[in-house]
Symmetry: C3
Subunit: 348 residues, 3 copies
């Protein structure tokens, strides 16, 4: 029997199946430095131990999206090595802050399966939880279209789970300790704008653009131990659909988040991701721009320190966002890469 792993195909999954993913990973200040070098985020809470301590954290927490990428990366060898497409996310929220020295692991439960009519592929729904020891730090549902090994194999299940379209504000504070906002230094954080300064419907151009290099994307994606082949293997991808390696979709999310500092400097914590769509693929050489709309605002039960903004952030390729490119009718503007719906916390 072969010792190498071909990954799971659609017919290998079962509803209720629980997968403990390899490889556990201790997150360190080295990961933080590399993440900063790759994306250039400037949110003060994650950048400075002193700033974080002043408001009530024990030290600077790990960037939320870095936690997401680590957990997501662990699921790839088991869930999406034979994926055709990553279709969506739902119910993603952060449940506990992560600090350097914490070891992350991940576990997924298969909660839905739906064969496609072609019988060549099927959709797998998994609920993944990231852990620090036994403490959940992150939870999300993801669905992905996976190839069948054998088209003639019977469908392993037929159930589409009901999924929330938005994460309930009452859980948004779980990964954010109670803060002392009197000691939050807005000048040092880079902006004076607080919860009360943003209005639903407001649009913000994040102005800057960042060009992506192949080496950057590969280093980032390997840092998360994400093994999806399409990101690393030019020999194979050169003969494939795009003729080149695809940039990991999470790379675009992290770039958009870093760009969003210009306009959302105090939105220091990504509390939840309601949903997201990778509208178009990104390749090295493309320049990513972003803009955001405030979709809604929410108070957090029992919290006077922070409030939540629901944001839609659009990332584009080679297309500045001063005029907020989005859709023409039902179709996305051709430059749109990402349409992300998420909650951030910001001081009140």
């Amino acid at each position: 029997m072969s010792k190498n792993s071909p990954g799971n195909f659609f017919e290998d999954f079962r509803i209720g199946q629980v997968i403990r993913h390899a490889t556990p990973r201790t997150v360190t200040s080295g990961d933080v430095a590399l993440y900063t070098g790759l994306f250039g985020a400037r949110f003060a809470v994650q950048s400075s131990d002193a700033f974080a301590k002043a408001i009530g954290y024990p030290r600077a927490p790990i960037d939320d999206l870095l936690v997401f990428h680590f957990v997501f990366g662990k699921t790839v060898p088991d869930v999406s090595l034979n994926a055709v497409a990553n279709l969506g996310y739902a119910g993603c929220y952060f449940r506990s802050p992560v600090y350097p020295g914490d070891t992350l692991s991940a576990l997924s439960e298969v909660i839905g399966l739906k064969e496609n009519s072609s019988r060549k592929t099927g959709i797998v729904y998994v609920r993944t939880t990231g852990y620090r020891d036994d403490t959940p730090v992150l939870e999300y549902v993801r669905w992905v279209m996976v190839r069948k090994r054998d088209e003639a194999a019977p469908a392993p299940g037929d159930h589409v789970p009901r999924l929330p379209t938005v994460v309930d504000p009452k859980v948004l504070g779980e990964a954010c300790p109670k803060l002392d906002i009197k000691t939050y230094d807005f000048a040092l954080a880079g902006s004076s704008h607080r919860f009360g300064d943003y209005d639903a419907g407001e649009r913000i151009d994040h102005v800057d653009g960042i060009t992506v290099e192949e080496a950057e994307a590969q280093i980032a994606t390997r840092l998360y131990q994400n093994t999806a082949r399409i990101h690393f293997n030019q020999y194979v991808e050169g003969k494939g659909r795009f003729g080149r390696r695809l940039i990991y979709g999470g790379h675009v999310i992290s770039l958009a988040r870093a760009l969003s500092f210009n306009g959302l400097a105090n939105a220091f914590h990504v509390a939840a991701i309601n949903g997201g769509r990778h509208v178009a693929p990104l390749f090295a050489g493309g320049t990513v721009f972003a803009w955001s709309e405030i979709l809604a605002k929410a108070e957090l039960p029992g919290r006077e320190d922070v409030g939540a903004l629901r944001l839609r952030t659009l990332a584009t390729r080679d297309r500045p966002c001063a005029d907020f490119p989005f859709k023409t009718g039902d179709d996305y503007d051709a430059a749109v890469l990402l349409d992300l719906d998420y909650w951030v916390l910001i001081p009140r």
Copy 2:
């Protein structure tokens, strides 16, 4: 009102204005590792905790230029986002060693303003101080040509400060603890040459060349949270003057410093920068070489452990330096990128 920041224009500055810059940044061993990977410096004091401890440091200090880049990076969004050109530095010296775990912040005072005759731009002089908590770790003056938002706006001031052409040797020891040179292992440091072995007027070819890749320069510049757009945005720069992204001038300084190990292996501490000129832009693909001249030597008051060498280091592009390329008449050799005048400390 827009939430994003367009940066300051010339008419936004005032003499005496004090700017507290975002974002505070805790420096870690992760930053050190990445800096080593990007530049390959080999100075033993910064490379080895054991070596540093043996001579009297509590542990290996952060590379001086890395401290400079962090502090400089913080000033960009406030001072030079709308800059046309970075014109010069003066009076730059290091005031306290920085170690992993220290959090750096920066503050600038506007000390000079001079509108150009075109009235389209003006020169802004700032004195910037980098801090660890309340302790100054670095101070320098920088002047930069900044665009006006509105050409018709009145000049916000008219004063050109007097600046030192050289940093006084009496402050050069501030960021270097008293060392026990008997325990300084010259073999381990890579050279037997001490203060007494160098003569004013001596020239040293640093021999090696390093080719710069776009990804390296972007990762480095983001590590410092430097947001100058010209380094990151190929979409915009592709339509601009050079047709491509410009490598951050500080990248060339760090490369030249790393190359200078071959000939100056014991010059472990950059104590001050008297002045510097970015003579020509560097783009990815260029190979950087360097050579140095000993301009002067200085003893430090009350210090038997170390002496100071005043160096001029020239960096070139695609041009080996065995014959010390410099100027033809008043003009720099076409290959020269950088002309840096600085003080280093070296064991006596």
Copy 3:
């Protein structure tokens, strides 16, 4: 006298000469993060402090090959700066685990010298030992063809040492503490295959391919403070034999090791390298694949916890390894880059 170092030429070496290499280097979690980003290794012992502690390590040890690269890098300025070719390794084994915070240094003894008949070059054999303080952590013999400065110079010695073709299994456990395999979590490690599941003669395709970017290779090689010019200087190499920079041979070894996780996930410790041959050069843009053969198995004296597999791992360029490309007659397949013979430890 020039302050810069031209490196040693063949006639500069003497049998019995001992060289203490610069620069000592404290290894940190920053180095580990960068190494993970560059190669994407997923072995649980090196990735997770929690996993390592559970089985008996004090924390996650540094990847063995990273230790090798650090020690090797230190020898370059003294041993191989004027090398024509890196000819081979023998008797390489790890003697003590290395952890973040340890400072590494290196010492080499010249154990053989043999002038080539052309009198233009000679072969230098060195035994190099890497140390943490006074504790050896790694030992190996390497031989390299070095240019003469002066063809007329007499040969500095004439002795070819006898070298082992394989490292004795009795030393293979030196850098691996006694482990509690009952607490080794095979699911978390990514595979159920143990010592007993592998058979001599078995071949494993590691399936995936990784394309190498110039920036990645330069960052890695500088991280090790390896100064070999051929890896960094496009200006010079552009006029040279290959027209481009050569990827450090150790980069291929690390890629092959990372790829080998897919099929050898529990082979967590590289205990020794019996020998290795860089069959062909690698350049940026090439995609590296790998496969392994189990050459032999060995029990370790007094150890019930782990056993040793002797592996031959072949790395190829732009050539998947499903059919195990190796040799045609005496000649290697044109795609082969690396033929590495080494011992790994794996739970019993």
